[in-house]
Symmetry: C2
Subunit: 291 residues, 2 copies
């Protein structure tokens, strides 16, 4: 945990002092935010034509998927492949196209759609009930939905989440993955192996070349598609190209204050009080990098 | 109204026949979708460095805002201005910066935050209750929320909506506008003058250059910002550069079937049945253009 200094202080001040529309986002609680360094063992650097994207893997929710993904990354499997199916407002899907039926020797991955909730996982409540789940919250920066009656929990399909594609068989994930790039398609929850989220470079992800909606997002012209030049675990990045990645600690006091502030909307900007509800996918959980 | 032929038929087939993950989006009802041509008087062509964006204005919900915007467009006010405040996952704000306090002679616009619902407006119900409103639906392709107890209605903050920025004073909109580019910030509803939506080129909007979150999205380097090369009403576009713009008719039988299909999710892809709810901001309402 790092306490706030330098640039963050500037950020806090920006949130507090800047012009009024800013107060709606990203207003910061007048308290010290803390940051969590992303576990280097779960930090993935994905370099696209458009820039650097950093993904945090979540083995607590999808251990088998994370294991296979790490193996593929170690084998340089994704280098040179492209985002071949990209629908604006929905998902960017990349990989070797085995999800489209291309032959592959890579083993399939079992369904990891939900877990039994483990009390040792961090939990910051966001909304109960939520329209799509009995309750939502944040756990290590990930948006999570839970069903307390069944003691189940799952990573929910917010913008920036990373999941494995599959066909009708629940156990048919393999290599192709997608990133959500539009309004949260939460109807997909509990039906796919969600295993990570973009913690840095979502602006880069939004520049991924889109396919035509008329063709289900499939990009026919391979030269136009956005290519993955290099996909590596942090440990395999040369030292001089490494960054340390931090995300806001969603369990910290300051963050919980920020959530309360977002529920209350006491700023005089708000002439009509919004309902006291929060969309777990609309709560920003910032990431930043340092050398 | 145009009945479906040619390219759309292809689209329908793609939705029905393509690989399974596609079934989740944009699955099309096995019926003829109809399209509505966007009223040329409310069609705006915004040309950015990144490509063409087409906006439909909505004078039924924001007549004064639309009137002033049209006047500004006729005066070539926006040509050469840039998107100077862009926060990934939130909004892209463009204009002359008068919202930041720069001097301006342009008159202010009264608050147009909600209207009394007019029964002659089309209405296709989507969700009731919704987390942020008693009910939501679609009206001429626009996502609308309503409060039947008060007979009020408002354009809701979905991705792609266009609204005027303002400061704390409810009547302080002027020239600067923003486009929502991330998860719907619906807490802003009934607090801003929403007056249009992007009906074509949202992929272009997503390529707008982002500012640093640490600086509230403000882009200090003006040369980096995405510039509006030309912003025109359709009538002022030279004939050879004109397109006709169509959006899916959200009042058609086929579209209503599509909504039902999205609620039911009967495809065998879904091993865990999603809740029978719809997020009005997650229902795709496609646009297309023809010469």
């Amino acid at each position: 945990m790092n306490h706030v200094t330098g640039p963050l202080k500037k950020w806090l001040m920006a949130g507090l002092l800047a012009w009024p529309f800013c107060l709606s986002w990203p207003v910061m609680a007048a308290n010290e935010l803390t940051w969590r360094q992303v576990d280097p063992d779960n930090t993935v650097f994905m370099e696209l034509t458009e820039g650097l994207v950093i993904i945090e893997l979540n083995p607590a929710f999808a251990p088998k998927t994370v294991k296979q993904f790490k193996k593929l990354v170690a084998d340089r499997f994704y280098d040179g492949l492209s985002f071949y199916r990209v629908i604006d407002g929905f998902v960017a899907q990349g990989g070797d196209g085995s999800d489209l039926g291309k032959l592959s020797n890579i083993p399939l991955i079992d369904a990891e759609f939900e877990i039994d909730w483990e009390p040792e996982l961090p939990w910051t409540p966001v909304q109960s009930p939520d329209m799509f789940a009995p309750e939502t919250g944040l756990s290590n920066g990930f948006a999570v939905a839970r069903n307390p009656d069944k003691n189940t929990a799952w990573l929910t399909h917010c913008p920036g989440i990373v999941a494995m594609a599959r066909n009708d068989d629940p156990d048919s994930s393999r290599t192709d993955f997608y990133i959500v790039i539009g309004q949260a398609p939460r109807y997909l929850d509990r039906n796919l192996n969600v295993f990570g989220r973009v913690v840095y470079g979502m602006d880069v992800v939004q520049r991924i070349y889109r396919g035509p909606a008329l063709n289900n997002g499939i990009i026919e012209d391979e030269t136009a598609a956005t290519r993955i030049s290099r996909l590596r675990m942090l440990e395999d990045i040369p030292d001089e190209e490494k960054y340390r990645t931090f995300v806001v600690d969603t369990g910290s006091e300051a963050f919980i204050e920020l959530l309360d502030d977002r529920r209350d909307r006491k700023q005089k900007f708000f002439h009509n009080q919004p309902p006291r509800v929060l969309d777990v996918c609309q709560v920003p959980v910032q990431g930043r990098i340092t050398r």
